[in-house]
């Protein structure tokens, strides 16, 4: 089914479409002038990292990056490491438990039969409770490089309990959705002037609106007969119809039209990319960068202010990646404390060295995104200053199937008060819910806790 949005195209050329557009356009321009936008990116890479992922002491900022984070060099002032941060529950080998609570702080709906998180992720809470969206065309975008499966091992963001958000792994589809109607090249095509002589187009708009009204009314009717859980499921449907209504009435370029808030709103080349091969380093790297570029340019075009970027899935083995023929999970990560020899990219090395290479590979994708954001001027600083990137993994250090010493890296967000440029050594073990709370607080959300610890309080030293 081609996403041709025939009716939408007609609306955009109609007088009513243009009339609907104008107040929104004015509103968005005013917002852009008033304040720097706040943005959030949640990122996930699979497995975990060797101890060398943590910086050593020393250096200008009090810490020095090691091999796995080599690609972040020069960005140290934008980074925040936090040691002794634990997930608050675990089950089995922590693979699913780890990714479920990574950004939700929740448990799963039901172990064994529905292991989706039983609560929303922090990005969706911000969307629900704050004005972070700012009138942008898409509430959030969720991109990934993965195999297309949709079980709990592949999901990092949730709208609510049992409401996972599937990552878009196809860059072309992602592009078509994010930039639908956007004109690139610096010149924004103005909407067609109102055409009062086209009553058919006006009638089409009225029909679409009425159709949405009817369907929402029906959903409300059905909700009366349901319990809470089922009502929430249909509420998501209602929200989707209202979002669809907004899309139908939006202008090319979204309601923001030509407003750009940093850098250049430019097209990302996605059409030539078709090889979605998780075992081919070259293809996967290109895939990762296109997805990261899509996020960056969605920000520069102010199409959204919330994104997630997810690679592979929790518990994956990644056989064949980086030219290693075995299982990275079994044959490298879990035996990386030995001096076994393995072949990676045609070179013989110890399993420890291999694990560092593997860790660096995934980290390089997050570093690429972070660096790109840092290179875009926005206000007196960079786009990274207005964007917080939180990168997390599924397991404790050393891929230990353990919920302890989770590696969360914060990057950017200086203008929200995030105290980057430090290695926060907590005096005692703290739950990740405190970090979640601090992030919410940094974005202006008054949360006193998050997930299964609604009163956890924030983590001292994260937001200043």
């Amino acid at each position: 089914m081609p996403r041709n949005l025939m009716s939408r195209r007609r609306i955009l050329k109609s007088s009513l479409g243009a009339l609907l557009l104008l107040p929104l356009l004015r509103q968005r321009k005013l917002q852009a002038q008033a304040a720097n936008p706040k943005r959030l990116v949640l990122a996930f890479t699979p497995d975990s990292n060797p101890p060398e992922w943590w910086p050593t002491a020393g250096g200008e900022l009090g810490f020095t990056l090691q091999g796995p984070l080599e690609d972040f060099r020069g960005l140290e002032q934008h980074l925040m490491f936090i040691r002794q941060l634990d997930h608050s529950w675990t089950y089995d080998n922590h693979h699913v438990a780890g990714i479920v609570q990574l950004f939700t702080g929740a448990r799963w709906v039901a172990q064994g039969s529905n292991e989706y998180a039983a609560g929303p992720s922090i990005d969706q809470v911000l969307l629900r409770d704050t004005d972070i969206r700012g009138g942008t065309a898409r509430p959030s975008i969720h991109l990934g490089a993965d195999d297309g499966r949709t079980d709990a091992r592949h999901i990092i963001c949730y709208t609510g309990s049992g409401q996972p958000i599937i990552n878009e792994i196809n860059p072309q589809r992602a592009f078509d959705d994010i930039f639908d109607g956007v004109t690139f090249g610096g010149t924004q095509e103005p909407p067609d002037p109102p055409d009062p002589s086209d009553p058919a187009a006006e009638r089409e708009v009225a029909v679409e609106q009425r159709q949405l009204d009817v369907n929402v009314e029906e959903l409300r009717e059905i909700q009366r007969f349901l319990g809470q859980e089922e009502r929430e499921k249909l509420e998501l449907h209602v929200t989707s119809l209202e979002e669809l209504r907004a899309r139908i009435t939006a202008a090319p370029g979204g309601d923001g039209g030509p407003v750009t808030v940093g850098g250049t709103c430019e097209e990302v080349a996605t059409r030539s990319f078709s090889s979605r091969d998780l075992t081919n380093e070259t293809a996967l790297t290109e895939w990762a960068r296109i997805q990261a570029d899509l996020i960056v340019n969605a920000f520069t075009c102010d199409r959204t202010r919330i994104a997630s970027l997810s690679f592979s899935f929790s518990g994956g083995h990644h056989n064949g990646l980086l030219g290693f023929s075995g299982s990275w999970h079994d044959d490298v990560a879990h035996v990386s404390r030995t001096n076994d020899s393995v072949s990676v990219r045609g070179q013989t090395m110890t399993t420890r060295q291999a694990f560092i290479e593997f860790s660096r590979y995934w980290g390089s994708h997050i570093a690429y995104l972070t660096r790109r954001l840092s290179e875009i001027t926005e206000g007196d600083g960079s786009m990274l200053d207005n964007t917080l990137v939180i990168w997390g993994v599924e397991s404790g250090t050393n891929h230990s199937h353990n919920p302890r010493d989770m590696q969360y890296l914060l990057a950017g967000g200086r203008n929200m008060g995030f105290q980057t440029g430090q290695f926060l050594q907590l005096p005692s073990t703290q739950s990740v819910h405190r970090l979640h709370t601090s992030v919410l607080n940094g974005f202006g959300h008054p949360a006193a806790g998050f997930g299964i610890e609604p009163s956890s309080g924030p983590l001292a030293g994260v937001v200043g």
């Binding site: 089914m1 949005l5 025939m6 634990d86 529950w89 675990t90 089950y91 089995d92 080998n93 438990a97 709906v109 039901a110 172990q111 064994g112 039969s113 529905n114 292991e115 195999d147 499966r149 949709t150 079980d151 709990a152 049992g162 058919a200 009638r203 029909v207 009425r210 159709q211 009817v214 369907n215 009314e217 029906e218 009717e221 059905i222 009366r224 007969f225 349901l226 319990g227 859980e229 089922e230 998501l236 449907h237 989707s240 119809l241 979002e243 669809l244 083995h317 056989n319 023929s325 075995g326 299982s327 079994d330 404390r337 230990s400 199937h401 353990n402 919920p403 302890r404 703290q430 819910h433």
Partner: protein, 568 residues
């Protein structure tokens, strides 16, 4: 569908605490509640869905060894089924559109469907996000725009397309789309849409607009199970005749109810259990019921995950060239042992696997150590199952053992609630086992590992006569294979050697028979049973008889009326 549970060889270096048991969720909604708190790693309880098949705690001998637990009948569970709105799968949606309009739609590029790890049609994963809402809207627009005037006229009860025929058109088409007689509120709503669309030059446009609205209506997109409108205030309710028709038809055939079934619903016949059963039997006679049964069995066996199985060519040369033949093998096996007419659990577990041609036969015997006299008996000898439950270069006795526990016996291997993996030593040496069995036996060498793996791996050892790609073998790395294992904590506990003995033992298991009914409940009801004692499961198991015949099992399951529905 995915394999859950304990990780692979690396667990030899990890360790699991003592006290691992199969889940005993005997109570409705049982399972221990999650109790985790900050900085304290804790397990979470199940939802009572798991395999409590035995009743009581594990039976141990004086040395603390787990011994056989005989089958006990489940405690009848009066748990009610909540009212729900069950979203059509994409496939069901396409079939429903065809029934309403007689036109085909392409859903291949629709938003991906969720997978909660059980069955793909589960009601709790049917969510409509904006991308899917847009897919529905665009499809409705395109398919209705493509209808010829003659086709539209054929849909009109009066044969005409004018304002005077609008209400009749709306009532007829809403009844067809909603799979129930249109109510006056429905007609009123869509008449409003018709009127908004009226006034232009194209007289067909308002009729197309009505059809668009019907195809995006939640009454079309969902299988509503909410009872009669007049019963809104009642906490407990019954499905209406038309809801029963929709449930039975979609569940048994994957298609919307046909005219005959809807007529029976119009006559109020389906609330009569005997008449409902008659119609269920009629549905089971249709070819689409066979397709639906195959869909269930395929998901139950996780055959749909086979396409994700990857094997190293240097370890299993020729695997990719026989992948299609393996799929053909499972198709033929299910046609033989899993058909509506003659299928049974006994046949699925113990019937010989039919040959899928010389190429696959040759592949199965391509390991130099294959003896040439081995047999492939039952579903546990299918190439798809064996290769899916393995590593790219090895077998996985743990994955295979867990498959039997979870899918065949409906048992969760449950970690103790206070389980927390111990920290790893930085100096731990890596073991260098000679065989896969030796590697996995390391699990049993440490007490913290043994408590779980003693329940799992011995079952997998029975299947070591098949390598990671399902080929026969008698040796690994020059060492003769030992396929001896054991079933423990089942109703057929015994020492078992090899795959044939394992299949025969499971064929005798009453727990396996009950599990078949529970798995069928999960698929045909689109939800996980709150406990093993719910009425449809008990009725289905009883009806299935000694060999667990599939047809009476499914018929009894879908015809069951021994439970309530509630608004909670």
């Amino acid at each position: 569908m995915r394999c859950k549970g304990l990780g692979g060889a690396a667990l030899a270096l990890l360790g699991l605490t003592a006290g691992c048991v199969t889940d005993l969720g005997e109570q409705p909604g049982g399972g221990s509640a999650p109790t985790g708190s900050s900085g304290q790693a804790t397990g979470t309880g199940g939802n009572g869905s798991g395999g409590g098949t035995g009743g009581g705690g594990p039976v141990v001998d004086e040395d603390g060894n787990v011994i056989s637990r005989p089958f006990t009948e489940p405690v009848a569970d009066p748990a009610a089924i909540p009212a729900r709105a069950w979203l059509l799968t994409h496939e069901q949606y396409a079939r429903a559109v065809r029934q309403v309009l007689g036109a085909s739609v392409d859903v291949s590029a629709f938003a991906l469907e969720l997978d909660n790890g059980e069955y793909k049609n589960h009601a709790d994963v049917g969510l409509v996000r904006v991308d899917l809402a847009q897919d529905y809207a665009e499809t409705a627009e395109e398919v209705t725009a493509g209808l010829t005037v003659a086709a539209l006229q054929a849909l009109s009860p009066t044969g005409t397309l004018d304002a005077a025929s609008a209400d009749a058109f709306i009532a007829a088409m809403a009844s067809r789309a909603f799979r129930r007689p249109a109510a006056s509120e429905d007609v009123q709503r869509f008449r409003g849409l018709f009127d908004v669309a009226s006034g232009g030059d194209d007289a067909t446009y308002p009729f197309r607009a009505v059809l668009r609205g019907l195809l995006t209506s939640p009454y079309f997109l969902y299988r509503t199970e909410i009872g009669a409108r007049a019963e809104e205030a009642n906490p407990a309710f019954q499905l209406t005749d038309h809801e029963l028709a929709t449930f039975a038809s979609f569940s048994l055939t994957g298609e919307p109810p046909n005219a005959e079934l809807l007529s029976a619903a119009d006559r109020g016949e389906l609330r009569d259990p005997a008449q409902l059963r008659t119609h269920v039997d009629a549905l089971l006679a249709s070819p689409t019921a066979g397709e639906q049964l195959k869909r269930f069995l395929t998901e139950w066996l996780e055959v749909d995950a086979f396409e994700e199985a990857t094997k190293f060519e240097e370890t299993f040369p020729g695997f990719e060239s026989v992948r299609a033949a393996m799929q053909a093998e499972v198709d033929a096996f299910l046609a033989q042992s899993g058909s509506v007419a003659t299928g049974s659990l006994t046949a699925l577990l113990t019937s010989p696997v039919p040959s899928a041609g010389p190429a696959l036969d040759a592949f199965y015997r391509s390991d130099p150590t294959a003896a040439g006299t081995e047999q492939r008996i039952g579903l546990l000898a299918l190439g798809t199952v064996l290769s899916h439950l393995g590593k790219p270069n090895l077998t996985s006795p743990t994955m295979r053992g867990l498959f039997v526990r979870e899918r065949i016996l409906c048992q969760h291997v449950q970690l103790p609630p206070d389980f927390s993996p111990p920290p790893l030593s930085e100096t731990q040496e890596r073991a260098q086992p000679e065989t896969t069995r030796e590697l996995y036996e390391l699990h049993a060498s440490e007490p913290v590992c043994a408590s779980c793996h003693q329940l799992i791996d011995p079952i997998g050892f029975n299947l070591e006569g098949f390598d990671g790609a399902g080929r026969f073998r008698t040796h690994e790395n020059g060492i003769a294979l030992d396929t001896a294992g054991a079933l423990v904590e089942t109703d057929v506990d015994r020492p078992v050697t090899g795959s044939v003995e394992l299949a025969e033992a499971l064929g005798e298991s009453r727990w396996a028979a009950e599990c078949m009914a529970r798995q069928a409940y999960r698929f045909y009801y689109g939800r996980t049973e709150p406990s093993r004692g719910v009425a449809p499961v008990i009725e289905a198991r009883t009806a299935a008889g000694a060999v667990t015949e599939l047809r009476p099992l499914v018929a009894a399951l879908v015809s069951s009326s021994g439970f309530q529905r509630v608004r909670q």
